[in-house]
C-alpha cells in the first residue's frame, strides 16, 4: 500500500449515515465505506452500480436457448429413439429440464460474475483495513492524498458526527 489512508471509525449506523451525508454534502472524496451489514443509503450514496442482474438475465436467455437446442439436437437429430409411442420431439418433456438447468446455470454464472467482479474468491487474502469493520464498527476510508488539504476540517466534521476513532494508516 503506497497510499496512506485515513479511517473514520463509527460505532453505529445512525452516526455513520449522518457523517456520510455531511461528507457528501461537503464533497469529500470518500474512498470506501466498510460496514458489518449492507446499508442501503451508503450503497446508493457511493454511486457504484452493478450490472449483475443484466448479466444474469442474458445468461438465462442463452441457457434456455442452449438447453432447448441441445435437447432437440440430441433427441431428434443426433439419435432419435422412440419412447412409449411419443414423437421424437417430445417438447413438453423438455420444459422441466430447461427450467431447472437454466436456474442452475444462472446461479452458477451469477456466482462467477460476483466472484469476478467483487473479487471474492477462494484463497484471496483479505485486505483488512480495520479489524472491527466486520464486527461492530462502521468505517469510512479516505485516501490521504485526497484530503491532505483540509484534514483538520475533516477531523472536525467527523468528530461532530460522533466518530469513535480516527486512524491514519
Amino acid at each position: 500500500m503506497k497510499n496512506k489512508y485515513l479511517l473514520g471509525v463509527f460505532g453505529d449506523e445512525e452516526h455513520l449515515l449522518d457523517a456520510f451525508e455531511d461528507l457528501k454534502a461537503n464533497s469529500y472524496k470518500i474512498e470506501e465505506v466498510y460496514s458489518p451489514y449492507p446499508i442501503h443509503e451508503i450503497l446508493t450514496g457511493m454511486g457504484h452500480k452493478t450490472r449483475m442482474t443484466h448479466a444474469a438475465f442474458a445468461l438465462g436467455v442463452v441457457a434456455v436457448l442452449g438447453l432447448l437446442g441441445f435437447m432437440y439436437y440430441a433427441a431428434v437429430i443426433s439419435w432419435p429413439l422412440i419412447y412409449g409411442g411419443k414423437p421424437f420431439n417430445a417438447f413438453p418433456s423438455f420444459i422441466v429440464v430447461t427450467l431447472v438447468a437454466t436456474i442452475l446455470i444462472v446461479t452458477l454464472g451469477t456466482l462467477f460474475f460476483f466472484s469476478a467482479r467483487a473479487k471474492i474468491f477462494p484463497g484471496k487474502k483479505a485486505e483488512i483495513i480495520h479489524e472491527g469493520a466486520t464486527d461492530d464498527k462502521f468505517v469510512i476510508v479516505f485516501n490521504a492524498s485526497d484530503i491532505k488539504d483540509n484534514k483538520d476540517e475533516l477531523y472536525r466534521l467527523l468528530k461532530r458526527h460522533g466518530v469513535e476513532d480516527i486512524v491514519e494508516k
Partner: protein
C-alpha cells in the same frame, strides 16, 4: 409495511452489534460442551452403521434390501422424498420469507439453510444407492461419448429429478455458503486463535465488508432469491413427477405437484422447528430465537396442515369420483380400510390432526409441546411417503403380481446412516459455523432500538 409492533421484538436483550457478534460466535470459540461430543459420537456410530449398509449394498447388490419384482422401490425412495422434503425448508425460509419481507426469518434462515444442505445430501445418497449398477451412474449424464453418441431420455422423470436434485443441492449450498461469507469474515476478525483465523480467513474469500462488496452481494442475493424461488416450487414438483408421470394407481394423479410442494414445506418447517427449539435450548439463544419466532412457525404449520388435510381428502374423494376401479381399490381397499390402513391413518393423524393443536396459544408457547408435535409431523410425513411409495406398488393392476414389502435390516441401517449423517452435519454446523446469520441479524437489530433513537427515514431495504 413491516410492523415490528405486531410481531414484537425481533431480538431480545437489547444487544449492541458487538454483543450480537459475540453471542453468536461464542459457541465456536467456547470449549465444546460434553453433550456435543456425546451426540457427535452417537451420530458417527449411526453414520458408521450406514456406511456398513452402503458397503453391503454396493458389494452384494440391491438384493440385500427387502424389495421384490413388484415393489421396486422401498425405504430408499421413501427416505429420499422425506429428506428432500425436509431439505425444502432452507430455501423456503430464505426465499419465500425474503420475498414476503419477513424480517423474522433472519434468526432462523441460516439453520434452515444448513439443514437443507445436509438433508439434500442425505436425500441425494438414496437415488444413487438404489441404482442396481451405481458404478455406471454417469450413464445418466448427457455427455458426448463413443457410443454413437447415445444421449439420455429427456422424457424420464428420473432424469428431470436428477437435474433438479443436482441443481437444488448446488444452488442451496452456494446460497447458504455465500450467506456465510461475511460471517466468516467476522469470525476471522474477532477470533484470537491463529488457526481459526487462517481457516475462517480462507473460507471468508477475502471478504472485508466494503460497500463495493456489499453492493454486489445484495445484487447476488436478489438474483439468487428470485430464481431460487422458482426452484422451491419446481424441485418438489419434479420429485412428485417421479410418481405422477407413471400409470400406476395411487401415483398417476395431477394433484401430486402442489401436494408434494406443500408437503415439503410442511415437513421442512417441522424439521426447522425441531432444530431451532434444540438450538434455543442447547445454546441458550432465546434472545435471537424468540418465542415469537416459534409462534410464527407454528402458525404457518397450522395453515399448511390444513392444506395437507385437504389434499388427503381430495385424493380419496377423486379415487371414488373418478370411478376407476384400480384407483378405488388402491384407496379404499388398500389404504383407507385395507392392509395398509395403519400407515394411512398414521399419516392423516400426524399431519392433519395433531398440528391442529397449535390453535391453542398455550401449546404454541410451550416449547416442549412444540418440539414433540414437530417430531410427530416429521413422522407423519415419513408415513405419507411410505403410503405413496409402497402401498401403490404392492397392489397395482394384476393381483397375481401383488407382493408385500418389508424392509431388510440393510435398508433400516441406511436410513439410520442418513440420520447419523444429518446429526453429524448439523452438529458440525453448530460447532463451526455461526448458527445465525450475523450480518442479517445486525441489520435488523436496529429496528429493535427504541424509536426515539432511530431518527430514520426510510425503512425500505
Amino acid at each position: 409495511m413491516y410492523n415490528t409492533e405486531f410481531r414484537g421484538k425481533l431480538i431480545e436483550g437489547n444487544k449492541s452489534l458487538g454483543q450480537i457478534s459475540q453471542d453468536i460466535v461464542r459457541p465456536i470459540d467456547a470449549k465444546t460442551p460434553r453433550w456435543w461430543f456425546i451426540s457427535m459420537g452417537i451420530s458417527l456410530v449411526m453414520l458408521g452403521l450406514g456406511l456398513y449398509a452402503k458397503y453391503i449394498t454396493v458389494t452384494e447388490g440391491i438384493g440385500s434390501w427387502g424389495l421384490n419384482n413388484s415393489v421396486g422401490w422401498g425405504w430408499a425412495i421413501i427416505n429420499f422424498v422425506w429428506w428432500i422434503g425436509i431439505g425444502h425448508a432452507g430455501t423456503a425460509f430464505s426465499i419465500f420469507l425474503l420475498i414476503l419481507r419477513q424480517k423474522w426469518r433472519t434468526s432462523i434462515n441460516r439453520a434452515a439453510e444448513a439443514m437443507t444442505v445436509v438433508a439434500v445430501m442425505c436425500a441425494g445418497l438414496f437415488p444413487l444407492l438404489h441404482m442396481g449398477r451405481v458404478w455406471n451412474f454417469f450413464f445418466v449424464l448427457p455427455y458426448p461419448n463413443t457410443r454413437g453418441p447415445l444421449w439420455v431420455n429427456f422424457n424420464s422423470p428420473l432424469f428431470w429429478d436428477f437435474v433438479a436434485i443436482t441443481a437444488y443441492l448446488l444452488i442451496s449450498a452456494s446460497f447458504w455458503y455465500f450467506g456465510m461469507v461475511p460471517d466468516f469474515a467476522t469470525i476471522r476478525d474477532t477470533t484470537k486463535s491463529k488457526i481459526k483465523k487462517a481457516v475462517y480467513g480462507f473460507f471468508a474469500f477475502g471478504w472485508t465488508g466494503s460497500s463495493k462488496e456489499w453492493l454486489r452481494y445484495e445484487a447476488l442475493a436478489f438474483i439468487l432469491g428470485g430464481i431460487a424461488a422458482v426452484l422451491v416450487v419446481s424441485v418438489h414438483s419434479i420429485v412428485s413427477t417421479d410418481f405422477a408421470v407413471s400409470v400406476v394407481p395411487g401415483w398417476h394423479t395431477t394433484i401430486f405437484p402442489p401436494y408434494f410442494v406443500v408437503g415439503a414445506i410442511f415437513s421442512g418447517f417441522a424439521m426447522v422447528l425441531t432444530l431451532v427449539t434444540m438450538i434455543r435450548k442447547l445454546y441458550k439463544m432465546n434472545d435471537f430465537i424468540t418465542d415469537s419466532h416459534v409462534d410464527a412457525v407454528t402458525r404457518v404449520l397450522i395453515f399448511v396442515s390444513l392444506i395437507m388435510g385437504t389434499a388427503y381428502f381430495t385424493e380419496v374423494f377423486i379415487a371414488w369420483y373418478s370411478a376407476s376401479e384400480y384407483e378405488y381399490y388402491m384407496f379404499f381397499k388398500n389404504r383407507v380400510f385395507g392392509e395398509y390402513a395403519f400407515q394411512f391413518w398414521a399419516m392423516v393423524i400426524c399431519n392433519a390432526f395433531i398440528p391442529q393443536l397449535f390453535w391453542w396459544k398455550k401449546i404454541r408457547s410451550n416449547i416442549t409441546a412444540v418440539f414433540i408435535i414437530s417430531l410427530f409431523i416429521n413422522l407423519g410425513m415419513w408415513f405419507e411417503r411410505f403410503n405413496i411409495v409402497v402401498t401403490t406398488l404392492a397392489k397395482d393392476f394384476l393381483p397375481a403380481a401383488w407382493a408385500g414389502y418389508s424392509p431388510s435390516y440393510i435398508e433400516i441401517l441406511l436410513f439410520i446412516g442418513t440420520l447419523g449423517l444429518f446429526g453429524a452435519g448439523v452438529l458440525m454446523f453448530f460447532r463451526y459455523i455461526p448458527m445465525i446469520a450475523i450480518h442479517e441479524v445486525k441489520s435488523v437489530a436496529k429496528y429493535d432500538k427504541p424509536s426515539h433513537e432511530r431518527k430514520h427515514r426510510n425503512h425500505e431495504e
